[in-house]
Amino acid sequence: MLTTFGFEVVGKASNGKEAVDLFNTMQSKPDIILMDHRMPLKNGIDASIEILKMNSHTKIIFTSADKSVEHKALSVGVTSFIEKPFTITALHKEIKRVYNISQF
């Protein structure tokens, strides 16, 4: 889906632990991470904390169907929060916005 808009997906993880491990092993770090919250083994908040610990400049777009975690996610350092369900257009806009921020 993301490739439709010309983005390159450099890695996929099915849970928080995999995401942390993958990020750790990647030599070239992704520009943006799209992070879900409720996942097995490790949730999105804990995964984000560990990733940001490894690289505090990492841009994370946090998504969840539970809006109540928005505040917590932003407080640990994620760049933005989108509540599910969202449209591809909305996601596209948000990725572009966050990417542009990272250029400065």
Binding site: M1, T4, R38, S64, A65, D66, K67, K84, P85, F86, T87, I88, T89
Partner: protein, 628 residues
């Protein structure tokens, strides 16, 4: 004259010996020219004057007594008037001279003699004086005591009484003397029944008793016998004290004690009184039920440890009670406490206890008040159980709500992403044009599902959480909601026009205001069969019952709401019966949020009388006065 002189001068006659031996001092004066000469005196006078008188024998009266002295005057009077008399006089005699009182008897002996007998009254006078003083003191003492003293003979005739006794019947002492004691009362001609004085005179012993006099007063009467020298009872002394007030106070105290005893006994709570040594001094009958004893007599007088040992199951309470008693005695505050207590037949009841120090007469005691709270305890347990179940149920419901909302949203997310991809394919003509309508329907349903999830969450929050009310720029929120909805329903031709004569509108609301506006507008969009959906929002201000409101009118061209439904659409409950088919929970949420804001909502027809032309949802929100 010469005979008398010769007689008294004779040395051997009986007359002389008689004269000498008279026990009273005697002077014999003879008139000589203008004075008197002492021609004779007896032995008694010699003793009285310590022999001094011998120096005056044959001497003139004026040498012994001054001319204006009583003795000199009286002798002259006796001689001059030729009569005998006696009177009390005082003069100094002896060595050293002492003033003494005499009864002087002047006897004129014709024709030139005056004989003076001087009986020494000094001692007698002193005794009389002492007696008078003693009598006065006795009178003062008897008069000053508050007890009534009556001295009466064997016929109850009053011989003497004190002032207190006389005043007690409103009479003077002299009115009582001579009367029989019972005669001072009107219409009484016999002694009072059981009179202790009469018993005393008959038994010759002290007797006392209580007497009620005809005026209603109560007296404590004591009779003491008075004996003559032969040991025979001749009179009686009655000592009386009025005890009417004391008796009334005693009676009142007795009644009060009875009253408190009755309260004590009728109390549904068990009340114990324990002394400082732990002995149970008293307890009421309710105690039987608490401690399962047949009678409270089994408890009174025993140590509280013994009482708690009546059932083995209560022995463990002893250290606790010991500690509590020590605490209360040492002045510490002891809070009420509860404990289970074993009874017969293996039954256990719950008891609450209050403990305090009480002062009864002069003794400080520890008071326990025990109350059977078994029923209350059972109810509390049931309530606790019920609360636990409710809490579990609430948590379960919250868990399901959360799970449902989250997972449905995830499902919707996937469907929405799929629609988005299909739309891209449609735009790239990779799908037939007729797919557009189907995609629009799916998209519409996803939006609807997403809105439902959001509303369920918000509705739950409105009911469970506490929201604060603050000042909110309503126009800003309304514009944001409009823009969001236009984007969300981009596949539909939706126009939302806001007509506001004000640039800024401040109302009392909070973050739920966007949910309120969103639901009104979504409703207007969703229940509309027109290809061109037009919603006009008119904003004005009005006062209702003096409260300033901002009025929002959401006028749509939708399917309209029949009159019968106009109120029901806001009143969705939680039971199947209350479910209004075809409508979501959006308007229920609108109503709840407005209740939170003290606002109002109702629906009118766009064209009055014809609901099918569309609706006008009217909302009143409290305005922050002072802002424009």
């Amino acid at each position: 004259m010469n005979d008398f002189k010769e007689q008294i001068s004779s040395t051997n006659t009986d007359y002389k010996s008689i004269f000498i031996s008279i026990p009273i001092p005697v002077y014999i004066w003879e008139k000589k020219e203008d004075d008197f000469l002492l021609i004779k005196f007896n032995k008694s006078l010699e003793i009285l004057t310590d022999g001094e008188i011998n120096n005056y024998l044959g001497k003139k009266l004026s040498l012994l007594f001054e001319n204006n002295s009583m003795m000199a005057i009286d002798i002259r009077n006796c001689y001059n008037n030729n009569f005998n008399y006696c009177k009390e006089i005082e003069f100094e005699v002896g060595k050293p001279p002492k003033k003494k009182t005499f009864l002087a008897t002047y006897i004129f002996i014709p024709s030139h003699f005056v004989v003076v007998f001087t009986e020494d009254l000094t001692r007698q006078k002193q005794i009389e004086k002492s007696l008078r003083k003693a009598e006065q003191e006795k009178t003062i003492i008897l008069e000053s005591i508050s007890e009534h003293l009556v001295y009466q003979d064997l016929d109850n005739k009053i011989l003497w009484t004190n002032k207190a006794a006389a005043e007690s019947v409103g009479l003077k002492i002299h009115n009582l003397i001579g009367k029989k004691c019972y005669e001072i009362w009107p219409r009484r001609d016999s002694p009072c029944e059981g009179c202790p004085v009469i018993k005393t005179t008959k038994s010759a012993k002290s007797t006392s008793g209580e007497i009620i006099t005809p005026d209603g007063r109560i007296w404590l009467v004591k009779g003491d016998p008075v004996f003559n020298e032969k040991g025979k009872v001749v009179a009686a002394v009655e000592i009386t004290k009025e005890i009417t007030q004391i008796k009334k106070a005693e009676e009142s105290l007795k009644k009060t004690q009875l009253k408190y005893r009755e309260l004590f006994e009728s109390s549904p709570y068990s009340i114990f009184l324990i002394d400082m040594n732990g002995i149970i001094l008293d307890c009421n009958s309710s105690t039987n039920n608490i401690l399962s004893v047949h009678t409270i007599k089994d408890l009174i007088g025993i140590h509280f440890k013994e009482a708690l040992s009546l059932f083995e199951g209560n022995i463990h309470l002893i250290p606790r009670f010991e500690k509590i008693i020590q605490q209360i005695i040492s002045g510490e505050q002891v809070k009420d406490f509860t404990f289970p207590i074993a009874q017969t037949l293996g039954k256990t009841i719950w008891v609450s206890a209050s403990v305090s120090l009480v002062k009864i007469i002069d003794e400080t005691l520890v008071q326990f008040i025990l109350k059977d709270i078994t029923e209350k305890k059972i109810t509390e347990e049931k309530l606790k159980d019920s609360e636990l179940k409710y809490r579990e149920s609430f948590n379960r419901s919250n868990f399901y709500k959360d799970l449902f909302a989250h997972d449905i949203n995830n499902i919707l997310q996937n469907i929405l992403s799929a629609i988005d991809l299909l739309n891209i394919k449609l735009q790239n003509k990779m799908l037939p044009e007729e797919s557009r309508e189907l995609l629009s329907i799916i998209n519409d349903q996803v939006n609807r599902g997403s809105n439902l999830v959001s509303n369920v969450r918000t509705l739950s929050d409105v009911e469970d959480l506490t929201f604060s009310i603050e000042e909110v720029n309503a126009l800003k929120v309304l514009n944001e909601v409009r823009d969001f909805l236009i984007r969300s329903f981009h596949e539909k031709k939706v126009e939302i026009i806001i007509n506001s004569p004000y640039n800024e509108i401040t109302i009392y609301a909070n973050q739920l205001l966007s949910d309120l506006f969103e639901n009104i507008l979504i409703n207007a969009i969703r229940y509309n069969r027109n290809t061109y959906i037009k919603i006009q929002i008119n904003i004005s201000k009005e006062k209702k019952e003096n409260i300033p409101y901002v009025k929002f009118e959401f006028i749509d061209n939708g399917i309209g709401i029949p009159d019968i439904m106009k109120e029901k659409i806001f009143q969705r409950g939680y039971s199947a019966k209350e479910f209004v088919s075809g409508l979501g929970i959006g308007l229920t949420l609108v109503k709840k949020i407005l209740n939170l804001y003290n606002g109002q909502v109702w629906v009118e027809d766009k064209i009055p009388g014809d609901y099918s032309e569309g609706s006008n949802f009217v909302i009143l929100l409290p305005e922050v006065v002072g802002n424009n």
